[in-house]
Structure formats: structure tokens, C-alpha cells
Symmetry: C2
Subunit: 240 residues, 2 copies
């Protein structure tokens, strides 16, 4: 294509020949590891490859709503956090034409999910973030970018509650952090630092059922209102 030979009117129309999609990196924590949701592709291109949940977006559809729809559809839960990573714009990233994709990362609680298993449309599994296989399109690059964002978020802020149940033990929170950071943390220092932020509060309930020996641990929850207000006021809940 040569811009110079187009007349002004052809020119303007020519801009409106691109498409965009959204691509979701959905994170959860399980077995003390960070997992990513991938879906086996049932059709070309990249048939048989695992890929991130993604979808084309119609010109008059909202991007964010499209992401919400995809995350809900594929996980079966509507309690999740999401945030845009960036646009992925390689010219050759999609074989069907110029399709730029807006990447999002998302946190869900794996225990609350109901993956659509075994139907023709999708076969989805949680894979360990440390052993992501070769994925379709540029999805490995998107996972890498998402991983950096997850790391940056959790290593500087008190966040990621959507990967736990609404009520959680401090040990579960700590294990999520250890999985994200890739190293162990001191129990006492961790509890002190978290609780000093004043937004994680006791519920008064103990974890149940409790099969282990010893005392059942206290359940805590996020004071979401205080958290959101303080974030809106610029507080970053720095913890490391």
C-alpha cells in the first residue's frame, strides 16, 4: 500500500480497515503457585495450540465490557479484578489482517471458578506460570508482560485479594505473596506489615472446616471501602 497515491477521501476510509481484539491473562493461585488460564484452540489459526482467552471486538462495542464478558464466560465467576496491560500491535501478530490486541490481566479465585470443560468451544486448564508452553499468536509475550505487572503490583502493593476467598487467613495471603514473589517470607514480619496497613481486619470467624491439628486460624477480610478510598486518595499500600 502506498499512501501517496490515495486521494484524500479514499485516504480517510483507508484508516477504518483495522480490527481489534482483547486478550486476557487470568491469574489465580493454587497449590502455592501462580496459575494462568489457557484454552486449547479448536480451530485455525493455531488449531491445537493453547492460547489465552481472547475475542474480537466489534467497532461499536466497549473494550472493557468485552473483557468482562470473556472473563465471566471462561471462568464462570464474576468476582474478579482486571486491569489493562497495554496494546500489542505487532504488524504480523494476526494472520487474518491488522488486528491489534488490548491485553488485560485479571485476578480470580480458582476455587470459585467453573471452567467450561470438554465442550467443543473450549478446553481450558490452569497452568503454572513457571511452565507456560508455547502459545498461539503473540500470547507468550502477553503472558510475560502480565507477569511483570503482577510482580510489580504484588511486590509493591497490598493487592490480589480477588485470588483468595472473600474471607481468608493471613497464611493464605502470605502463601499468595510467596508464590508471586518466588521466595519465602517471615511469618511474623509479614503479619506485622500487612496488619499495620489497617485495611485487613479480623472477621471474628475461624476457618472451617479445619482438618489439621492445632487451632483453627482466624479469618480476615479486606475493608474494601477504606481500601478504595485510600487508593483514590493516592495511597499505594506499599509493603516491601
Amino acid at each position: 500500500m502506498n499512501n501517496a497515491i490515495l486521494s484524500p477521501s479514499e485516504d480517510l476510509n483507508y484508516y477504518f480497515r483495522s480490527a481489534f481484539s482483547v486478550t486476557c491473562v487470568i491469574f489465580g493461585v493454587d497449590e502455592k503457585a501462580i496459575k494462568v488460564l489457557v484454552v486449547k484452540r479448536q480451530k485455525e489459526p493455531y488449531k491445537g495450540f493453547y492460547a489465552l482467552p481472547a475475542g474480537m471486538v466489534y467497532p461499536n462495542d466497549s473494550i472493557e465490557e468485552r473483557v468482562d464478558t470473556i472473563v465471566k464466560e471462561v471462568t464462570g465467576t464474576s468476582r474478579f479484578y482486571k486491569k489493562q496491560i497495554r496494546a500489542f500491535t505487532d504488524k504480523s501478530r494476526h494472520p487474518l489482517g491488522r488486528v491489534i490486541s488490548i491485553g488485560y490481566y485479571s485476578f480470580v479465585n480458582i476455587a470459585e471458578c467453573n471452567l467450561q470443560q470438554g465442550n467443543l468451544e473450549s478446553e481450558s486448564i490452569w497452568i503454572d506460570l513457571k511452565s507456560v508452553p508455547e502459545l498461539a499468536f503473540d500470547h507468550n509475550e502477553i503472558v510475560q508482560a502480565a507477569k511483570r505487572r503482577l510482580l510489580a503490583k504484588l511486590s509493591t502493593q497490598l493487592a490480589g485479594f480477588e485470588m483468595l476467598s472473600e474471607k481468608f487467613t493471613l497464611k493464605q495471603l502470605q502463601e499468595m505473596y510467596e508464590a508471586a514473589l518466588g521466595h519465602e517470607l517471615d511469618k511474623r514480619n509479614f503479619r506485622r506489615k500487612i496488619l499495620s496497613q489497617d485495611v485487613i481486619v479480623e472477621t471474628g470467624e475461624l476457618l472451617t472446616p479445619w482438618d489439621e491439628s492445632g487451632k483453627a486460624p482466624m479469618l480476615y477480610k479486606l475493608n474494601r471501602e477504606l481500601y478504595d478510598n485510600r487508593r483514590a486518595a493516592g495511597d499505594h499500600f506499599e509493603i516491601f
Copy 2:
């Protein structure tokens, strides 16, 4: 438009009716303040409003190259840093159709710039980041996002050298940081912290010409190779 009435073949084509643009938030430092480059629009829509430098992107053009072209064209320099902010995707952000814009922020040295002044195409000025007027499209939102990124970058990392000359005094570096952070810094602590990172090195030259009284200050420069290598290795040059 109603997706339900489209046949599958019409359906696929329908995706390819969007356009995208790039929008650049170009930062510089001058008079101990962070400035943003804005251009007065000579045509509709938003004729007469100030806007960020931006441009539509053809379906087969590279986004990043388009950004480079725009930044060079509007500033007249080709020494700059740039990084994607995110995609701005509001359905109604552009009156001519569905145009999502990929936002970039950029650092340039204002002293090295040659703005295209007074021609019909553009009238561009540096405005203080603290007093940005109402801009065209969703450009105020893009400036806000860019400002947060600039703050995050400079307040956690040793960065922003592209806003200074290749050789700079530590005082100039400090004043850039003070402008970005919005508060003064202790000279001795600042120098200690910066130099302890080992990537800012003396050139042996003194700043010249030197009209002030007293001793002319030492010029320093970034050891770019070491800096890039250490960044590639995951070093974040945290300084605060």
C-alpha cells in the same frame, strides 16, 4: 448496528472497520518545571483547541514507527525516550468513528528541540504540566495517565536522562527530579544516592559557558551501556 442479523461472512468483515491512532505525551523539563508539548488544532474536529501530537495509523503501518515519526516531526530531535502508556478505547472518544488510540509518553531535551512554529499545520508550545488547559478529544485523560507514569518512573528509578543534555550536572539532574516529584531534595543525600548506583560517571569536563560566580560544576553522563545491561538483567535502579 445489530450483530445478530449479520451472517458469519459479513460478521468477520465487520470487525475490520475500526481505526487506530497514536497519541504522544512529550515531556521536557525547563525552568525547573515539567512541561508538555501541545499543538493548536488548525481544523475540525476541535479546531482551535490545544491537543497532544497524534496521528492516524494505516492498517499496514507500524505503531512504534508512527510514534517515532510524530515525535521527530513535532520536536525536531531524534534523541528521545518513549514508552507505551496504554490503549485509550472510549467508544465515543473520536467523532469520526471507532478510533482507539495508543498513548505513548516520551522524554526529550527541550533545549535540543526545534518546534515547527507558525506554519499552517501546527502551532506548538510547551505548557507547564501543572496548568494544562482543556484539550481536544480525551487528551486530558491521556495526560493524566502519562503524568502518573512519569511520576512512577522517576520516583522509583534513575531515569529521565533524555530530558537533559547528554552531559549534565548533578544539579540539573536534581532539579529535574525536584520538578517531577514536586518537592525539594537534599543535595548531599541526592548526590550520594545517585552516584551509589554507579551508572552516572564524571566526564572530566566542567560546564561551560559558566556565567555564575564560583566554581563551574562537573559534567556527568550516563554510562548507557552499563545502564541498559543492568536494566535488561532486571535491575530497577531504585533510588527512593
